[in-house]
Amino acid sequence: MLLAAETASSLMSLGLTLPLWPLLSAALVGIMLASGRFRGMAHVAVIAGALVAAVLGAVWFVQLAPAGDGHGATGGVSMDIAPWFSLGDGQMVGFNYYLDGLTGVMLLVVTSVALMVVIYSVGYMKDHHGHRERGYERFFAFLGLFIFSMLMLVLAGNFVLLYLGWELVGLCSYLLIGFYYRKPEAAAAAKKAFLVNRIGDFGFALGIFALYQYILPHVQPGENALDYAVVFRHAAQLTADQVNLVCLLLFCGAMGKSAQIPLYVWLPDAMEGPSPVSALIHAATMVTAGVYMVARCGPLFANAPDALEVVTWVGAIGAIYAATMAMAQYDMKRILAYSTMSQLAYMFVALGCGAPDSAVFHLYTHAFFKALLFLGAGSVMHAMGNVIDLREFSGLRSVLPTTQRLMLIGCLALAGFPLLSGFWSKDEILHAALEHNFPVFVILLLTSFMTAYYTFRMYFLCFHGPLRLPAAAGAHPHDAPPVMVLPMTLLAAGAVLAGYLGVAIHWGSPLDSFLFVFQGHGWFHHYVHNGSMVVTPVEHGSGSAVLYYVSAAVGIVGIWMAWRRYGTAPQDEPDRKSFGPLWLLWHARYYVDEIFDAVFVQPLRALGRLFFAVDRAGVDGAVNAIGGTPRALGAVLRVAQNGMLQSYALTTALGIAVLALLWRFVGTP
């Protein structure tokens, strides 16, 4: 399906270049680095690239809006750009885009958060005296490369191109986690992130292979079997077993990228990267790629009930599992990392419960408030001289008032405080779970409570209580400079307001409209329905608002409990006393890293050593077997080695000729 001619305006052809601008800016920085000139301008190039991308992203977002009331959904649009490589059988893999409402939302999220983070980084990557950190240019080049990769991921129009974006964002994640490569922890974390993701990618690749095998018999001449449009057109023709297998394999990739059980282990360690990276890659964009992919493959997953069941339960268990670990950490960024895993798990539950629009809605609101939280944590870290352990400081509201206010907004949004963006989207997911799977609903509700609790435990330990500073912070810590405050402020505005795109204003009784005014499923949902997404239609104006009150209460009680126990930033860890050994288990993160190492890594390495020993024995054994030959041959060769090249060549040729003749007369009867 090609784009209709009348819509293919010059604006659109400019729009097609969207991912290339950040790539170009990264290349420019590379040239600056190689030539050694204008190095101080690295951030200008990448900000410009991100800005162009953000403008074009916003234009696309508007362009992709459904016409009229939104019920005239037109479906996705494929745009072929160039061929890439051939798969035989007349099948091609090309560079092509697939554009629909889901693409529009992702473009908006990626480009806007990226722009904020790039601007913030200008301040963050300098010390208090304005000196650029070592590797400043490299950092911005990688950011530019990441934005390009992420845009390719969301614009891709076929599964191989999706895989391309998927791997490239993984590469950028690797490079940026390992940004402080001299630190052994950072280098190890980078490697771990890449490898754990590769486990998922193994499944993802097999999913693509299997999909091709099953789809190929159904494709018509001229269709490429791995294009989204073709797959979605023929998805219904696959058998249930086929779709289930394909979806489960694809979901393996999602488990890696979106940090779900059991492939989540890389995400907490990824916090070794600079904080802006954590905000952009490990909270707002890259880690949501798995959610995006499952939502994108809606037409496949909709026919795969078993796979959806797995998605639901992986999500539900992951949500509460991550929350328990978040309750017992001291590293601010790790707490946020576990909360990211937990919130991504919410999105998977929504996907599993057949509400991909709610999953994408949560993805969208989460991007703003979680990016804000990470940037806020970065601001704390920047002021504290790179100390981020909550035991090292407290009472920072007096020295970092701006950061504290912005963090409060982010924490409230994450905790699901009423009327902030996280509240609206999380409630929808609870609603979907309630309709499909009651045990899962209970788990999620409990997790909501824990989320509010651990978020504010972190907040109080950091900003409340008596002022204590680590030695590394110096006597007078500085609050964030304007270049960092501006992007955080804009994200905070998003954290407050973004949710209103997804709620409907409906005056009614407080039982069917929250606070007389609000109902779920607003304009945002119409927007994302415009495309490949498969959603169970929701009747507007008939919903119940009761759940809104329940989840509001749960969030507020969680915050209140945290206030009761941690409001004065106590140093003796009340939870440790209350939960005892359980708390220690959470604190040690269930010893999963150690278990992985003992069960997978060490045995594999032992196998490698065994093979190596066998290999060496094989070499020596073989030599012994033909024992005398080398010596005899060596004697001959010593003659040849005296510079008599010609004679050797002649000997070989003659020998072959003699052999040929011998064979001719001996070999034929």
Partner: protein, 536 residues
């Protein structure tokens, strides 16, 4: 015009070798310059010849056909004719292009490290160059065999004289293994030629030997005979044991050409000879071949992971990588064959480049032990940049050349009717294991705190800098550029390749691939206008 170019490719290096040989031993610098000039010339010609190839399987570029040796056998009214018959189709042209690319780079990489007996060194390098072009250009099977064997000689001396501490042992091991294997291959070729002659005159024309009709049993045995020489060369697990030693002990140029070009003689042999000459045998043995390939992929990768010597790690990675190449070839699918040839080229570029980088590190620190060497990223940022690019290409990251070949090969193994999903899945384990050892190496060498042996780099009295010199950058930059170009536009290579592979190889083996299971109406569905044959 093209014919003259092809003659120059084959004979100019031999002439240069003679010229260099006759120089006094003290003129190493002049020898280097002559070799580099000839290398540059063959590079231009070789790439030019590749550029003019088309997808027409019958049109050979620069074809020349001269009778070399005729042995008349009056009694039987027959005789033996050996011809100097050369010419390039798309398959051989790709490999000629790869050789042409790597030759000047491998000459240039010795500029600092080769100080002893330099004239001899460059003479042998030139001999090797001529022989490598000869192998790929040959259209007469016996001529192929002569060049095939002849490559052993210069490499034997390159390893044995300029290699590492265990060079003698490595050179003998290398020579014996490959020589013994190829003798059996030779017997197979002779048998085939005699069968083709059918009592008449014997000749070794490639196309003639590729269209002999043989019984199933004959094909099966003949496949095994050809297998012996080619599988050792590839090297296919478990016949690979000569490789790590030879690779590790060889001087950098030897490792580059060994990995980049000479291993491809094995895969080229399978593709050019085994598949078209014994198609039924190849299909029958394909599952075994696929199994060995997968063993090699996993085995090589796991061993790479436990190495301390960087060069040995890269050497074992070749065992793993060539497994992918063989897996694709024996899928008997168009995508697999194309992917396999792409894999040959890409492995040549990527592994060649890795050996070059390792050599550059070794020139400075005189060690390759990763326990003594680490955290070089800050010391050598330019080197790190290149190393990371080649590592990424090696692990098959999209937009690098490695991705296309790895993906198509695994894809083909999965879709194959002779191999199938289990093979695809097992092979795909390699994409994880490959990343493990490569990133392990990167982490050790580049990241972490700085760890330099001997208190810092040996700069050879000012001939080197702590980071890469301009000469070294000029060596690596073209390879890095190709990594990206072939990753984005692999069609440059595959457009002429695909039709030729289909005509010369797939058309021979396809009739012997069992008809697809019920799900496989796929081919029929794809042919426009062809009615799908509904099986009753």
């Amino acid at each position: 015009m093209e014919a003259i170019g092809l003659h120059i490719l084959i004979f100019a290096p031999f002439a240069a070798a003679l010229a260099i040989w006759s120089l006094p031993a003290s003129r190493g610098d002049l020898a280097y310059r002559i070799a580099l000039a000839v290398g540059g010339m063959v590079c231009a010609i070789g790439l030019g010849l590749w550029w003019v190839t088309t997808g027409d399987a019958d049109a050979l570029i620069g074809e020349t056909r001269l009778t070399w040796v005729t042995i008349a056998d009056t009694a039987a009214g027959a005789g033996v004719t050996i011809r100097y018959h050369v010419g390039l189709d798309a398959i051989s042209a790709v490999l000629v292009g790869l050789t042409a690319l790597l030759v000047p780079l491998s000459i240039a990489c010795g500029a600092v490290s080769i100080r002893e007996r330099a004239t001899e060194y460059y003479a042998w390098l030139m001999v090797l160059t001529g022989a490598m072009f000869g192998v790929f250009a040959a259209r007469d099977v016996l001529l192929f065999y002569v060049f095939f064997e002849f490559t052993l000689v210069p490499l034997y001396f390159l390893i044995g004289i300029w290699g590492g501490p265990e060079r003698r042992y490595a050179a003998n091991k290398f020579f014996l293994f490959t020589f013994v294997g190829s003798v059996i291959t030779f017997a197979g070729i002779l048998y085939l030629a005699i069968r083709a002659a059918d009592g008449g005159a014997i000749d070794f024309d490639l196309l003639r030997l590729s269209s002999v009709s043989l019984s199933t049993a004959e094909q099966s045995l003949l496949f095994l005979a050809l297998f012996c020489g080619f599988a050792i060369k590839v090297p296919l697990f478990p016949l690979h044991t000569w490789l790590p030693l030879a690779h590790t002990e060889a001087p950098t140029a030897g490792s580059v050409l060994l990995a980049g070009v000479l291993l491809k003689l094995g895969t080229y042999g399978f593709l050019r000879f085994s598949l078209p000459m014994t198609p039924e045998g190849a299909v029958a043995w394909a599952p075994l071949m696929g199994g060995l390939a997968i063993c090699g992929i996993i085995y090589g990768a796991l061993i790479s992971w436990v190495q301390r010597d960087v060069k040995k790690l890269v050497a074992y990675s070749s065992v793993s990588h060539l497994g992918f190449c063989m897996l694709g070839m024996f899928s008997m699918m168009s995508a697999g064959l194309t992917g396999s040839v792409l894999y040959m080229v890409n492995h040549g570029i990527n592994t060649g480049a890795l050996f070059l980088v390792v050599g550059m590190i070794y020139d400075r620190y005189h060690t390759r032990d990763m326990d003594k060497l680490g955290g070089l990223a800050r010391q050598m940022p330019v080197m790190s940049f290149f190393l990371i690019i080649f590592v990424l290409a090696s692990v098959g990251l999209p937009l690098t050349n490695g991705f296309i070949s790895e993906f198509t090969v695994l894809f083909a193994a999965y879709q194959s009717k002779v191999l199938g999903p289990a093979f695809g899945a097992m092979g795909a384990v390699g994409i994880l294991l490959g990343a493990i050892y490569m990133l392990y190496m990167t982490g050790k060498v580049l990241f972490g705190p700085l760890n330099e042996p001997h208190g810092g780099p040996d700069l050879h009295n000012g001939r080197l800098k702590p980071d890469l010199t301009r000469r070294e950058i000029a060596i690596l930059a073209p390879l890095a550029a190709l990594v990206l170009i072939l990753g984005v536009a692999p069609k440059v290579l595959t457009n002429p390749l695909e039709p030729v592979l289909e005509a010369r190889v797939l058309a021979r083996v396809a009739p012997h691939v069992a008809p697809a299971a019920p799900s496989g109406r796929r081919m029929a569905a794809l042919l426009p206008g062809a009615a799908a044959p509904e099986a009753p």
